[in-house]
Amino acid sequence: MNQVAVSTPTQPGGAVTRFGRRQQPGAIRITHWCNAVLILLMAGSGLQILTAYPALGPRGSQYWWYPFQNMAPPRWLTIGGWLAGGRHWHFAIAWFFIANALVYLVYFFASGEWRRRLFNPGRDSGNALRQFAYYTRIRKSPPPADFYNGLQRLAYTTVMLVGIIMVLSGLAIYKPVQFHPLTLIFGGYDGARAVHLAGLCLLVMFVLVHLLLVSLHPRELLHMIGGGPRGSGG
């Protein structure tokens, strides 16, 4: 047993072995790229649905804090052509979005990948802060990172939670009477719509930062396509 442990040392970030899994295992690469396409379709069809009533809050008392009241999203961002088309796209693709997310989550936890990817406040908070200080030029050098730095873990974990909230708030809007307890959690039907749109805004912000950082570190893009080296962990 000892010999096995020595020949397959685990990385600080978790269960990564020298001769084991690639940086980005196949299951993660496939679900990642499926997710990219599915989220684009969900966002485009969602904006088509929003176009029919581009406002938040119930009739007669629209929310005062929403800055884009009655402003429809640009047409070139929408998918489906009209409200019914947008709804068909949204409710069709939602199944594949959820199925893909479930495959990802099962693999994520069953494989142990969660150990090196999930944000663990005790382990990652300090590193995340120092990484943030480096990005904002308060620090000159980045803190040492193993697989992901603390800020990456925080971002990827947050975006997973946002995805879950998107599904739940979407169900709350879809069936506000049949799923009434769920709808209540989001502050009712109109609250759930606001949460659903806020979730989209967070996802868009994540994707923009994600694309910026990938363009600065193109090697990571190659890893997400080809998998990267086996087990080197860094």
């Binding site: 119930p58 009739r59 007669g60 409200l83 019914a84 069709a92 009477v177 009712g188 719509r193």
Partner: protein, 232 residues
């Protein structure tokens, strides 16, 4: 009936094809995919629907100001009650009936203040009163073979069809009153369908006919491509 379903299906394809001209990315296999998923979603909606689950009744303070509660009709001008208006109830019933408004108003009255959900995404609250459709079903003696209900109107042929379970839900009314008073013309006077468990477009205004049916048919918006079940 089968013929009608095929027409609905063809119209759905036509509607999606029309949309493809706009979006430019809906080829035939894509339309087919959306059609298959739409059928799957309809079955899911039917499975999610519970005939006994009630929408919450809301306090008077939640009522939407009346001028902020949208109302629409498809005719060029507001449809007005034809002289000698009466509701015809027929189809698969043992006792087809013609009911006047006075007769309907003598039946057991139900009041409810619930949230309205429009397919466009907005919500509003009003109280509605009228007769539960299940009372009408009992009165006319609905046949075992009836699985669907069709509603027809004097608003330029606006119509819709429902599953029987949603139609006999305790919060599905043939409403003749709005916010404690009589129903306004813009909300469908003299009589309209109002339900807490369907999207707005399923709630046919300016009602003339209720028909209990053995087969699923379509509707004004449904035939143009909107979801048929449209429960909330």
């Amino acid at each position: 009936m089968q013929l009608r379903t095929n027409i609905s299906r063809r119209r759905f394809i036509a509607a999606m094809a029309a949309a493809s001209v706009i979006s430019g990315c809906e080829s035939r296999p894509v339309v087919r995919f959306l059609e298959v998923m739409q059928r799957w979603n309809r079955k899911t909606e039917e499975a999610i629907f519970s005939p006994n689950r009630l929408a919450p009744e809301l306090p008077a303070s939640a009522t939407t100001p009346e001028d902020a509660f949208p109302a629409y009709f498809i005719s060029d001008s507001m449809p007005l009650v034809p002289p000698n208006w009466a509701l015809r109830v027929g189809g698969l019933v043992r006792r087809p009936m013609v009911l006047t408004l006075a007769q309907l108003q003598r039946m057991t009255r139900t009041d409810m203040r619930v949230q309205h959900h429009c397919v466009e995404g907005w919500s509003a609250v009003a109280s509605w009163h009228g007769v539960r459709l299940r009372e009408i079903a009992k009165l006319t003696g609905v046949d075992q073979r009836a699985r669907f209900v069709e509603f027809r109107s004097f608003d330029s042929g606006y119509w819709s069809s429902w599953d029987l379970e949603s139609a006999v839900h305790p919060q599905t009314l043939l409403a003749y009153g709005f916010n404690g008073g009589p129903l306004y013309a813009e909300h469908g006077a003299p009589l309209r369908v109002y339900s807490a468990v369907k999207l707005g477009y399923k709630n046919v205004k300016y009602l003339t006919e209720v028909n209990f049916m053995p087969n699923r048919t379509g509707g004004y918006w449904e035939d143009q491509g909107y979801e048929w079940f449209a429960g909330v």
